[in-house]
Symmetry: C3
Subunit: 259 residues, 3 copies
């Protein structure tokens, strides 16, 4: 198919200790043997839809157009929550209708509620739709299935609001949304929002140095702000743990003032 | 080969910190470049053959027939324990002869003790048969090697007994065999054994609600029983940790009484 | 390409919780859709160049010649540290010029400082060269790009010294370089350096049994020495944790005396 890359990405909260992710891959390869499957992460904090939405938003654009992104963080599995497939920005997305794909909804061309049961596994459990519903549909889409053939168009997918940074009168107000493996504070302030020139950066009540160019340009002795790998403002401490240093966690206020 | 899927699954206790799993994949791809390799888990508790046997039994059927399942949890590596390749239920299995594949033995058509040394790596270490013995044989089988050509037929592979649930006089007696990532208690009571209709479920001395349809149908305030992703009875607490709530771990008795 | 295997291995300190490794794979597959990508490890201790160098050295030879090994442990990202691509022992290596590939430098035919910006992603961040610089170059090399076309030859790549074992007058002196998942002490004493016959093995001030043939040949009650999966001397305790038993960690002296 001209508009399919043959790649499927997976984002879940399944962890890697149990064989669930492997089973999902088995189902995919049974339907589409040429699929190339890439794990984004299986360590989304359990049932944290917002964290998964950030992962999808941060990652999808680095894959070729026509990639299928399957995400399953699904506290409502087995309830009457709908299952979605959609196309946005040239990519396909498959998962529960619980807000996982909210950041992409404004760009979505087509949003489908999955209902063609002949696409699913013969027996659909009430606890493992990743295996029984989403994997078969993702495999089908990656192989070339027409999106419209997976179910019915809907116009009211569930949305969650990710906390957005706001700019007004020379002040940008955002939040820490995540602490990464290295103790860096990842904020919701996108690079595009930050003006060139001198900026004062506050995290809670602490001011931090900024905005540096790279980790290497940071100081060893005090945290500083940089544009990090997520394409957003990040507070880091060279050779140290900025979160511990500042005693700051997810939710902490971040304020940038243009000088 | 008509009866090979070209897929190899891996189940080990190697963890993912050391490069051992990657090295095994290098050896496989050197022999069979078109192999598609799927990790089931590398976090089997160290040397826990029974836990690995559950992983294999729970997972293999979700792969296409003709898949090669390589499992290496191998406390006896370097001793005179035999090495196995076998075919059962249309799938191939490769690993040490220590009981790993016990649940499949009753269905096995052919069980082979590996002894054709020309199939192994030139130098076979006493500590890393996954790399030197099992990966080459698994790659060969996935590529189309005749199972009979890997060694000699045997009739006495090592068996371990997995604890089985027993049904008598309206009572089903089983055990918790594992606590999963979410704190759910995974039992050895298969879905097929559980009658329709009302059932009283006891875990140790606690009775739990049951049997619900899905995680979403559970209560927030007390644990309940459902048929989980393993296809077995599972005790879960909605938005909580059932194992902590009940103070129950692996080995705990589970009893179902038909009302 | 005759001299390329189409395989790319990845070694990083990115962990698997964030989607960074997945993003790197997306960039690779966008450039070279047929790439087969193998994770060696993403759990190198943060910024530990020496640990990554051991991983590369221990692993690369188990892949087919013409494999591209990309390693990114990169405390200097965004500084003026150079980026490297090189060929050694029939394999290709791509990563920052900070000593990661030191063990291979003596065998390197060609060492290149990457500078052909048209090979990189359009926008090169100051924090994520794995995505913007190394992944595109690794994908290009795996696909058949001429190594000489990636930049300029250099003769002074950064070297770090890995601690080497020394043999003199019947005594071999080495060190513990790592504790593995099972609590085994991995030393820097290569199998080739150890004479046949009886050897006294000391770890710090403790003598240990040795040298056994395999884990299975060890005692349950006291640690012993064997040649482990890394191809180096290893101190292990059967069904136990040798590091805890001996109270020994990385850096501990290891001494072998030929009897």
């Amino acid at each position: 198919m001209a508009d399919r890359s043959g790649i499927i990405t997976l984002t879940t909260d399944f962890g890697t200790r149990d064989p669930f992710v492997g089973i999902v891959k088995g189902v995919i390869l049974g339907i589409f043997p040429a699929a190339r499957i890439v794990d984004l992460t299986h360590q989304v904090p359990p049932q944290n839809i917002e964290a998964a939405a950030w992962v999808i938003q941060d990652s999808y654009r680095y894959f070729p157009p026509g990639t299928v992104h399957m995400a399953v963080v699904d506290p409502g599995v087995g309830s009457d929550r709908r299952a979605l497939a959609m196309k946005a920005d040239g990519h396909f997305f498959v998962g529960p209708d619980n807000g996982l794909f909210s950041p992409l909804l404004d760009q979505a061309e087509t949003v489908i509620a999955l209902c063609r049961e002949e696409l699913f596994r013969d027996e659909v459990s009430a606890t493992f739709h990743a295996r029984d519903v989403f994997a078969p549909v993702a495999a089908g889409l990656a192989k070339g299935l027409n999106l419209e053939e997976t179910g019915d168009r809907i116009s009211d997918p569930v949305r969650i609001e990710l906390p957005r940074a706001v700019a007004e009168e020379g002040v940008i107000r955002g939040r820490v949304v995540e602490i990464d493996l290295f103790g860096n504070l990842i904020t919701n302030v996108p690079a595009e929002m930050i003006p060139k020139g001198r900026v004062l950066v506050m995290v809670g009540n602490n001011d931090v140095m900024g905005i540096g160019y790279s980790y290497a340009s940071l100081s060893n002795t005090a945290p500083g702000a940089i544009i990090g790998s997520h394409g957003r403002l990040e507070i880091a401490l060279k050779n140290g743990n900025a979160a511990e240093y500042l005693g700051a966690g997810a939710g902490e206020k971040v304020e940038l003032t243009v000088l």
